[in-house]
């Protein structure tokens, strides 16, 4: 039985954590994720969870705590944002390469500088090659739903990888919206007991974690890790389907919205997708063949599936909420362009960088993107394929 409520994205994630009742939380505050350990601390203080709540002196230590706890055989969780994630960098790679199914609630915020507390995706996009599964949410509901699905994905046999559940700082983390929550027992049942085959505290079978890997082994270890990420694709689909059977809300790699006959499409991640959806509705009402692809799973990257979904489009705008300073576009633009390259007649791709450091993305901005795409599609003249939108110009 679903429970209707109204919660902010941070409240929703903290509530999911409570229902999961993980063994250990490495807790360190940073805006805008601070509320997650804050709310969770109340659950701990009230005896509503059995979690060992470890307050540490930095994010480097909160991730280290999670690594130790996960290697010991526990379910470990943490939350962070921005520079906090950056301070975890070294440990993100350790967690992934040690194949520890840790779950991290990432509340996306810009990286310095100039120092800024508002939303963009530069933190998690910077960590995109650390070996973590990355799943993004459009709103509080998806942040909650994704979090409930995180451990079944992370812990699956053949995967065993850490998962980052991302939502947009402030825009969803601090916005109160309607939400449907699962019952505690449903979540417990869905997530299940965690019984790893091997773990440090298994006294009859001592274990060494994270050994040195000399050249004759390192390559093999990395290939195995890469295959684990590929294996995650089917698991993500299975878990998303199973979640749908429980709640009526199924999840895949992405959501296609009005894409079937779309000539122009916008591809984006996170809360902006809701704004783009409203824009697509407006333009469809005017008879324009436009659609949207909202990417949910960025790691593993569903390249073939995206190519299949966009193959009928004439022009596609790929929206990066981060700069990569490549001089050639953002990370999402590069990946999507790569995914479309092998199509016999790929759509034209324009890569936009938008929404940095909390710069608002309005329905009008989305409409402007579609206007520019129409120009590209009609005239066939692409112009610059790397554009910024939303900034002041001379």
């Amino acid at each position: 039985m679903a429970r209707k409520d109204r919660l902010s994205g941070n409240e929703a994630v903290a509530f999911a954590m409570k229902q999961i009742d993980p063994d250990v939380m490495g807790a360190f505050p940073i805006t805008p994720s601070t509320e997650i350990p804050q709310y969770f601390a109340q659950y701990v203080a009230n005896g509503e969870v059995n979690t060992e709540y470890v307050t540490v002196e930095s994010e480097h230590s909160s991730m280290s705590t999670c690594i130790g706890a996960s290697a010991a055989g526990g379910r470990a969780v943490t939350a962070t944002s921005s520079c906090g994630l950056a301070l975890m960098w070294e440990l993100l790679y350790v967690a992934a390469s040690d194949r520890l199914p840790i779950v991290l609630a990432c509340v996306n915020r810009a990286l310095s500088g100039p120092i800024n507390i508002n939303n963009d995706h530069s933190d998690s996009m910077g960590a995109r090659d650390s070996g973590w599964i990355q799943i993004y949410a459009e709103n509080n509901q998806e942040a909650y739903d994704n979090f409930v699905q995180a451990y079944p994905i992370a812990e699956a046999a053949g995967v065993r990888l850490p998962v980052m559940i991302c939502q947009d700082g402030f825009i969803t983390s601090h916005a109160v919206e309607n939400i449907e929550l699962c019952e505690d027992a449903e979540v417990k049942d869905f997530v299940g007991e965690y019984n790893p085959e091997h773990y440090l505290l298994k006294h009859e079978n001592p274990l060494a974690v994270g050994p040195y890997g000399v050249s004759p082994y390192y390559m093999e270890a990395k290939v195995a890790q890469a295959h684990a990420m590929m294996n995650a694709k089917q698991v993500i689909l299975d878990v998303g389907r199973r979640f749908g059977e429980m709640t009526g809300r199924s999840y895949g790699f992405f959501e296609s919205y009005q894409l079937d006959d779309a000539e122009l499409a916008i591809l984006l991640i996170g809360s902006s997708a809701g704004t783009a959806r409203a824009c697509v509705d407006e333009l469809r009402a005017q008879g324009k063949k436009v659609g949207m692809l909202k990417l949910r799973v960025f790691r593993p990257f569903p390249a073939e599936e995206i190519a299949e979904a966009l193959k009928g489009c004439k022009a596609v705008a790929v929206m990066d909420k981060t700069e990569s300073f490549s001089g050639n576009g953002g990370p999402l633009g590069a990946e999507v362009r790569g995914a479309l390259y092998d199509l016999p007649t790929p759509p034209r791709v324009i890569n936009y960088v938008y929404g940095l450091g909390g710069r608002d993305f309005r329905v009008e901005d989305c409409a402007q993107v579609f206007d520019e795409l129409a120009e590209v599609a009609v005239n066939g003249v692409t112009g610059s394929t790397y554009r910024h939108i939303g900034q002041r110009e001379e």
Partner: protein, 192 residues
């Protein structure tokens, strides 16, 4: 598609404008609406101008941008009229609700040519009378409900009483004062 009612709050850090915005979301949620309540965040300090937003509708609203063309604007601190363009984008079909002891006609000249409805409420006086302190957000919330009509006023009063009973379970003496502040504000808000 039904268009959500969009409300923009202007207050000063520490006054409770964000809390009032979230309480309005709560009240609308309780009456079966789809809601959004969100502040515009920055490095806020006590006294600095802040903005918060509500979208209230019968279907889920997916737009996640700030609100630029609100139906209603609520100004929790009168002194903001001098430093913030509070009527920017405000629909002339809508209304602005200002915390002031002045009459609507007296504040209209400060509103940069806004032609829509101007409502005033002396939230400070009501708050000091009913709560003994200047907590303007409760009376402003009530005035916003009354003027905007986004929630049925009777239902709103019932829901708020339940909410206060829950929120102030350990200090029941303040419940009556808050309820008085609500009802008084709904009676005294003036339109011009």
């Amino acid at each position: 598609m039904n268009k959500p009612v969009e409300i923009r709050w202007h207050g000063r850090g520490g006054q409770g404008a964000k809390t009032a915005c979230l309480l309005l979301a709560d009240a609308a949620f309780s009456s079966g609406k789809y809601v959004q309540g969100f502040p515009e965040y920055g490095p806020e300090r006590m006294g600095a101008p802040i903005t918060a937003y509500n979208r209230i509708s019968d279907e889920r609203c997916t737009v996640h941008s700030n609100i630029y063309n609100p139906d209603f604007v609520v100004v929790v601190d009168e002194s903001l009229l001098e430093c913030v363009d509070v009527t920017a984008g405000l629909s002339p079909e809508g209304a602005i609700i200002i915390n002031t002891d002045k009459e609507p006609a007296d504040v209209r000249p400060l509103l940069r040519g806004y032609t829509g409805k101007v409502c005033t409420i002396d939230a400070r006086a009501i708050s000091e009378e009913t709560l003994g302190k200047n907590f303007p957000n409760t009376p402003m919330l009530a005035a916003a409900v009354k003027v905007s009509g986004v929630v049925d006023p009777d239902r709103f009063v019932q829901d708020m009483e339940a909410s206060f009973r829950h929120k102030f379970a350990t200090k029941p003496q303040v419940i009556a004062g808050n309820m008085n502040a609500l009802t008084k504000s709904m009676q005294e808000v003036k339109a011009g």
